[in-house]
Structure formats: structure tokens, C-alpha cells
Symmetry: C2
Subunit: 242 residues, 2 copies
DNA sequence: AGGGCTGTTTCCGTCAGGCGGAAACATGGG
DNA sequence: CCCATGTTTCCGCCTGACGGAAACAGCCCT
């Protein structure tokens, strides 16, 4: 299990010694574990002898309800949204005090972001994260606001009181324009996705554009919120609520 | 490990007893294993007490080179292709004698297919599978052609000799129009994706349309092959070949 | 209320199979 | 040719996984 955990975005493929070193396991033990995982298909071996994550894991993960089902429902809406805007469309869920990207649509024309599906960020770091934070349980909010907030850019809100006020505003307005909080060159609009029209917040939908101004982002608000609405309703229908 | 394998598309969430029964493990053992997996994040528990695949697994799987990296590269091309056609765009790789879908783009307008990301099919069953089969090692081809071929529709090619001839034609033409082989209502165009312009075949790209005729599918051939070409070149560039 | 039923959780003594040190093996560069 | 680095195999020890059993928790039906 530790062996699987040693694979990350930064280290997509590694040799036996690296795995043993990273997990703290003796080489012979790592050798056996890797062999078992490989036999099952969770790991595969490249031509150069290094190990990488195999398709079996991909297959299992594809039935992850918080990933795949959400994706299946959201994808067509995101797709349509993309065609109307040609900007980066992103979908994320919360896990603990972190945000995890589960889907993204981007063609060749849109901004190149540093984020990928599967990536994690602190909730406070991104617009979508703040939307999720605004609707998270109190203990999660306290945990995030209790820690010092990292300033990614000169615009990042780092004062807990300001952030708390922003969370209140998000709950009132049902959307957020996040101006150069994570990167100096991007502005994001984000809005919650619920299960049904009034159910719990399940995910956040967002559009990321170049920082040519908040005004441009605002024009994207309505199509974004309409798409989120559509996803919410369909999720509710599938879950049998509303 | 058997516990993870017990989760499939047909069984996305199950309670402890079901897991124990499916894996053949005693309940107490299943209970412990599930607990460990849950603590790590590989499994999560729903409100109804059932277990489902968690986001940690999703995260690990997202660094699967045969899935994610391929997807990251192919996505924008598939996206552009979708916008030009508004048909189902699919990407698949081969694993053993099976085809695994790794990506799909479809908006609201396109046909509803029975296939999902992560699904597996026999290589001979689909157009994309036959493209992969045409470029698979000889032992794989022999294994597939040695078994009796299942007739999914009245049009399915089941004669090994005919299929072998088709494989030869695929290698010559670099594409295949597959007419109602898996379903009576769909026609597919498929073409290989290589690593670099002359490297090994790494995946298959395909478009699936309603069976309004082979002619319609043919018009999609050129944009499809251009997209596959683009993906191949970019994969090659990333892999440092060509 | 009571009892039966289904599913979950905890407990604990046993012992198989995982563990890892060490040595053999493989590769490749100086 | 030798040494460095990484991989694979071997095997004896011992620990922590195993699973039977019992307690626990809901839920439905009478």
C-alpha cells in the first residue's frame, strides 16, 4: 500500500531501489510487494525496467463514485460550456481540507494551467476550493482558518477574517470571482454543484481565464451557474432526491 | 487486493458482507482489510454504510502513464475533433487480448453508447480493438484468432480468415471503417496512435456514429487521421523519439 | 415488548507466511 | 578486469495476520 502511495505526479515511474527508499521498506520486501502488485496489474514495468502505475488501478478507480459518476454526469455540461466559452472548465471535489480536481476540459486555445486531474491543493488556495470551503462542515473551516494561509501571489487573501467574510459572501451569492489568488496570471469564476437543487454541495465547477481582468470573468458567471445548475439537477435525479 | 478487485462497473458500492462473499474472505478478515483500505483512502463509506472506491485510488491512478499521460496529450486533439464533428470521440489502449477505453468526449448531442472509460472489450469486438489487434504482437493475434469469435450482430465478422485479411488491410490503409460489428445501430471509424510518426502503436482513436451509413463515417476519416497524427507526434516529442 | 434475523464490530489464541539479512547474479562504466 | 549499482533468489525466524466465536446493533414481524 505504501508502495502505491510512493507513486505521485512528481514520480510517475521509479525503479525498485527508489521505491524501497521512498517507502522505507527493505529492498527484498519491496521486490516481493512490487511483484505481487505487478501480477495483479496494479503496476507495470517499462522497457527501461522502471515501474509505473498499471491499467488495472485505472480500471478500479474508474468506478470511484466521487470521480467517475460525477464526471459522467458533468462531462456533457462542461463540454457544452467549453464550446460556448473556449476557456478552461474545471470540476473539483473536497477531501478533508484539500481540493481534488476530478475533471477538466481544455482545447488548444485555452490557457495552459499548472493543474491536472488528480492534483490536490489546499482549499484556501483556489477559487473553487473556497467555494467548497464555504459549504464545508464547521470543523473543516476552523481547521483551514486556524492554520496560517500561504500567500501564493501578492493578491492572495491571507487574513482569516477577510477570508471568513468571503466565505459568507459565497454562500449568499452562490459564486465567487477569484482574482489572481493562486497565480499572477489567472482569474477564476467558481460556483457550487449540489445534489439536487437544494441538496448538499458535492463539488465545485469553475472557469479559469487569463488575468485580463475581473470584468471578463464576470461575463462567464451566468453560463457557468447554468451549467452547475444542470449538473446539480441531474445528480439529484440520479440520487433520487428532489 | 482481492477486495479492490471485487469492485467493478456492475458493483460500484457494496456492504461488508457482499465484499466478504465475493472475495471468499471470512467476514472478520474482510472487515480488517476494508478498514485498512479505508484508512488509507482507497475506500470510502457512504451514508448507507456501503463501501465504494475512494479518491486516493483515483489520485494514484491519475498518474498511470498509459492512462493519464496519453489522455493529457490526446485530450485537446480529441476536443478539437469533437467540435468539428459533434460525434463520439474515443481513445483506447490494448491490454493483453482486451481493449480498455481511456478517454471519451461526448456532448449532449451525440449518440449514447454503452461504453465508459475503464471498460474492457475483446479486441475483435470493436473497430478500435481491431486496429490495436492489427498492430499487436503475433502471439496476441494468434490467441485472439484461435478462439471462436463472438457474433454480436448479424454483421459481425466471425471468420478468422476474413478477420486476418481485415487486419492486413488496416496495416496498409492506417484506418478502418467498422460497420455494425458490436451494435446494430453504430458505425465506427478507427485509426492507430503511435509514439512518434513511425514508432510503435500505442493506442487507437475512433469516432462512433449512428448507423446511418458507412458513407457518413468515411467523411470523418480525414479529420480523425489528422488528429491521431497530431497526438502521435506530440507523444513522440514527449518520449524523445523521432 | 419480545424474539428472530441480518449485518457489523470486537476479541484473542494460534501458526502460517511475510519479513528482511545476506549472498548470488546481472549490468555497465571506467 | 574490477568495482559500483541495481536486481533476484534463498531461507530461517518470529510476528502480526487470520478467522472462529461471541458480543453488539438495527430492523422487521408477530
Amino acid at each position: 500500500m505504501a508502495v502505491l502511495a510512493s507513486f505521485g505526479r512528481d514520480r510517475p515511474s521509479q525503479n525498485l531501489s527508489q521505491i524501497a527508499h521512498r517507502t522505507g521498506l527493505p529492498i527484498s520486501t519491496a521486490h516481493r510487494v512490487v511483484g505481487e502488485l505487478a501480477e495483479w496489474g496494479a503496476l507495470e514495468r517499462g522497457d527501461d525496467g522502471t515501474w509505473y502505475v498499471g491499467l488495472r488501478l485505472w480500471e478500479i478507480a474508474s468506478v470511484c463514485p466521487r470521480g467517475q459518476i460525477l464526471r459522467d454526469v458533468a462531462r456533457p455540461y462542461m463540454q457544452d460550456l467549453y464550446e460556448g466559452t473556449h476557456e478552461n472548465i474545471q470540476l473539483a471535489v473536497r477531501e478533508g481540507t484539500e481540493l481534488v480536481f476530478v475533471e477538466r476540459i481544455a482545447g488548444h486555445r485555452s490557457v495552459d494551467l499548472m493543474t491536472n486531474v488528480g492534483d490536490r491543493f489546499p482549499l484556501a488556495a483556489t477559487g473553487m476550493g473556497r467555494v467548497l470551503l464555504a459549504h464545508a462542515p464547521a470543523d473543516i473551516q476552523d481547521a483551514v482558518l486556524g492554520e496560517p494561509l500561504h500567500a501564493y501571489t501578492s493578491h492572495t487573501v491571507t487574513d482569516p477574517r477577510t477570508l471568513r467574510a468571503q466565505l459568507t459572501r459565497i454562500r449568499r451569492d452562490h459564486y465567487l470571482v477569484s482574482d489572481r489568488q493562486l497565480s499572477e496570471t489567472t482569474v477564476a469564476v467558481a460556483t457550487p454543484v449540489r445534489i439536487g437543487t437544494t441538496g448538499p454541495v458535492h463539488a465545485a465547477l469553475g472557469i479559469v481565464v487569463t488575468a485580463r481582468g475581473v470584468a471578463a470573468a464576470r461575463t462567464l458567471r451566468d453560463p457557468l451557474m447554468r451549467a452547475a445548475q444542470g449538473i446539480s439537477v441531474e445528480l439529484g435525479r440520479r440520487a433520487g432526491v428532489d
